[in-house]
Symmetry: C3
Amino acid sequence: MDLSHILYFIDLTGTFVFAVSGVTVASRYNVDVFGASVIGFVTALGGGTVRDVLIGATPVNWILNDEWVLAATVGIIIGLFVTPVISQWKRTMFIFDTIGIGLFTILGLEKTLQLGLSPLIALMMGTVSAVFGGVVRDVLVNRVPLIFRKEVYATACIAGGLVYLFIGLFTENKLWPLLVSIGVVITIRRLAVMRNWSLPMPKSSRP
Amino acid sequence: MDLSHILYFIDLTGTFVFAVSGVTVASRYNVDVFGASVIGFVTALGGGTVRDVLIGATPVNWILNDEWVLAATVGIIIGLFVTPVISQWKRTMFIFDTIGIGLFTILGLEKTLQLGLSPLIALMMGTVSAVFGGVVRDVLVNRVPLIFRKEVYATACIAGGLVYLFIGLFTENKLWPLLVSIGVVITIRRLAVMRNWSLPMPKSSRP
Amino acid sequence: MDLSHILYFIDLTGTFVFAVSGVTVASRYNVDVFGASVIGFVTALGGGTVRDVLIGATPVNWILNDEWVLAATVGIIIGLFVTPVISQWKRTMFIFDTIGIGLFTILGLEKTLQLGLSPLIALMMGTVSAVFGGVVRDVLVNRVPLIFRKEVYATACIAGGLVYLFIGLFTENKLWPLLVSIGVVITIRRLAVMRNWSLPMPKSSRP
């Protein structure tokens, strides 16, 4: 099993986990099973979709490869019927979610670089891939996006992307930068949750 | 008057009806005539726009053909100035709206198939064409999209699309599958409204 | 310093001002510095992004030219750290904002015309360039877009765009139509704010 197979497996697993979490969030907002399914789908595939539309890589990725739709669909079904009764999953889900955003960041960054776009844009598009599914989910359930309010989530992605770009200056190898930068994302995110870190509010915020 | 003329006529009529209904919904949300017009426009053309952006068929359809903008504009004017005083229209509007979503589903599905994409994606894009105008409308007036909460609306589109794909396995003819599948959409939607059907809520919903 | 340099300078200045105003609005909505930054970015670049996606001009403009991202970034930093302490800026900001929307309208309109699309679509896309950044900003902070509720803002853009198209019928020159139409936008907007103009509500609005 070589690197590209491992990436492919984690990518689909991340999509699956995002779909489960999207359905779980949606279920708290007075929606029916269709609404929860659409929101699960958007959470899983929305980040990559926004990235692909912005960089002009359309049709977007999941439209050309049915596996992504299937991974999201399995996640939605699990989210609708299984999650409510198995709450011990929470820890496992958190681990896969964190690996998922790390990987989504680097995959989005690499895809953007390979189109010949600048590292600055690649860093932004990597972060968009990882977090915009959740942004669209929150817009659909009519709340201010969670990552705009708390959780050092996008910050972890940006830090991981910067580390990846930095190591890339010194090596042609893709595997080590990937592993190290995903490690950075996981570490920052874990520490943030454990120590309840949050970003400051803007100075001009109402008291 | 051959099939393509009939489709063209129903497509423009559907666009018109969606614009009227968009303005009518918007008018309940403290917006001015400009806001109501934009929301009418988005309701009428948003579904096809999201579909075209996802499948990479840009510029989107209404940008290349002014008739769609004109059909939407007429609908907006009617919605702003005429509908409030003619409430008997409601029944007629419901009929055209239902024919409209049926047709939008099949047109979106066919357009996607003709780009060489899979039947699964075509079914999704057909449904997106029919319902995402309403989703964007609801996001703009700041409420959780109606079709995520009630009405067996998207379900009717999905069922119609499945029937269309299924009949298509047995015939090259396009007209009969179209008529039958639009009939399915209309029947399910009428029954759902008459009998007050709704989809179940996810198991994990708060009580 | 020739015309294209002046346009370039005003375009970047408009982007900067929009970013400052986006951060300022976001800061009232209980978001952290990351959220405020994303919202500043979206306010500054969202209008042109929506336009480019609709007309199929992807990758969108700011992805191909890092200056736009940098102009927005400087605006975000000023918005986060400087604006709160310098309230005299308000008047200067208003002037640049108004010049900005005027210029964004005409630039968007010209870009659309140059792709061979119709004047009607060009007028719509010019207005979208100027106002949709604010629409997406408002959706993200979870309120009905301001320009749908008050301010004769989009109306000023539409009027300016119409004047630009009209003068263009009589001259090949681009500079005079530009100056006159931006003048129209500024005048209408100033008068609207001074005299507290607003558009009527739809007839069907709830009392």
